[in-house]
Amino acid sequence: MGVTGDQIAAACDKVPGGGYILARLDDVLNWARESSQWPVTFGLACCAIEMMATGAAHYDQDRLGIIYRATPRQADLMIVSGTVTKKMAPVLRRLYEQMPEPKYVIAMGNCASGGGPYYYDSYNTVRGVDLVVPVDIYISGCPPRPEQLLDALIALGQSYKKEHALKLARG
């Protein structure tokens, strides 16, 4: 509110040694983002069941600090778990647009990544959710195992390290 991350970053750049402070600040913020990834509760099809299984006792996503939020407003990422149909695509896009920046998308499973078994001969399937929203991580599998989803979430967390968290801040 008021001051954006960009302005803080610009101010830091002017101070001698500010670059170092900025880098460390980014590290801390990226650590925070990595440790607290909240996906939106959004299941489309078969993969959603594996997504639920990932949250259950056997795999326990909460170990990584991952909790599901029902409203897109409080979510950091969207796990597109299942086939996206043309009827669903506008809703999915709206959901994505309702999420606050910075936001990420995981395309879970073959259907979300590229249409999967419904690529050919289906009149209602979107052949890959990347036609609708930008995707950061693709997971193969039909459906992927919970371990794969966990791996993707960890990989996404690691990828934050390349970003300037402060410049992404809009708070």
């Binding site: 078969c46 069941i49 639920m52 299984a53 056997h58 506008p90 078994p117 459906p143």
Partner: protein
Amino acid sequence: MPLRDFRIPEFDAPEVQLPTGELAHETTIVSMGPQHPSTHGVLRLMLKLDGESVLQVVPVIGYLHRGTEKIAEKRSYAMIVPYTDRLDYISSMYMNLGYVRAVEGLLGIEAPPRARVIRTILGELQRIASHLVWLGTFGLDLGAWTAFIYCFRERELILDLFEQICGARLTYNAIRIGGIVADLPAGWEDGLRAYLTAQEQGLRDYEGLLTGNPVFRARIEGIGVISAADALNWGLSGPSLRGSGSTFDLRKDDPYECYGEVDFHVATADSGDCLGRYEVRIQEMHESLSIIRQLLPRLQEPGEVQTKVPRVLKPPAGEFYAHVEAPRGIFGVYVVSDGSANPVRVRFRSPSFANLSALNTMCAGMKLADVVAILGSIDIVLGEVDR
């Protein structure tokens, strides 16, 4: 690839003319879903509310309509089996079984005895797994988180057993035309026995957590009542129908595989409300365990698990309708062949589709929170509603 640009449809409620006069109030139209925590996927309910009371529910479906029936017209008979996995993805085994039985009927062949025993066991395991997902999500709908985690704990054990047979956790493609994919791996029966013991303890856990809980009972007793006659008229099937007192169960009424040879009773409840449907499913899990126990000795008998079928299936021209009692109700498959390698038409009659159609009837006069409970109690899977 650039993102497609399209207009996002706005949901605009109609302009409401504010009523005037004393005690004036207006109704609200709320769109629940397609993304909502308790619509079990991508169902959308349009609710007409008067405060918290529900006046009308209009389910809007098709958000997961993938055109499976159209795709099936372009595939060979064996290639359709994996697509059936993805209809009711919570009970894929049963979807396989339904379709495979239809094609077998068309071909006039039958699976070998050992395959039929294994199919029955897999089917009942799948029924328990499916009911566990239902119980967990039903608990979630009512705000009881812990039951969900408990149910998934035992479900993992079933998935491990399935995985040993076919290598997949959810979409099995394990029941094939003329048999099953492979014989049981060594040691599978021991795993099954260990699971049966664990599951019995698990069932005690869930019941301890939910059945006697006064809050849980208060939430579901007398909610979403539908009479047996109404339920039949609406085409309800499975536990949603038996919760109203009907004993209609294809495992008894039109036995297939080994169901004619095992002893079990059809679980029913008379109340016709959410509690009745809950009790039926809990009883069914006990019955399924008993069916599996009865069939366990027959796993010792060696034998083939696959009849010889040609590589390219060309059934004679004709049609066949097969139906099985899937965990959610009657799953019917209607296959029409013209003698070529691809079917003319494959029709999937999905239980959830019919069960969902009666939602408005059940929700009359209920509160908003009850809609969630009722929807949870009829246990729909959007994959098979939309197909």
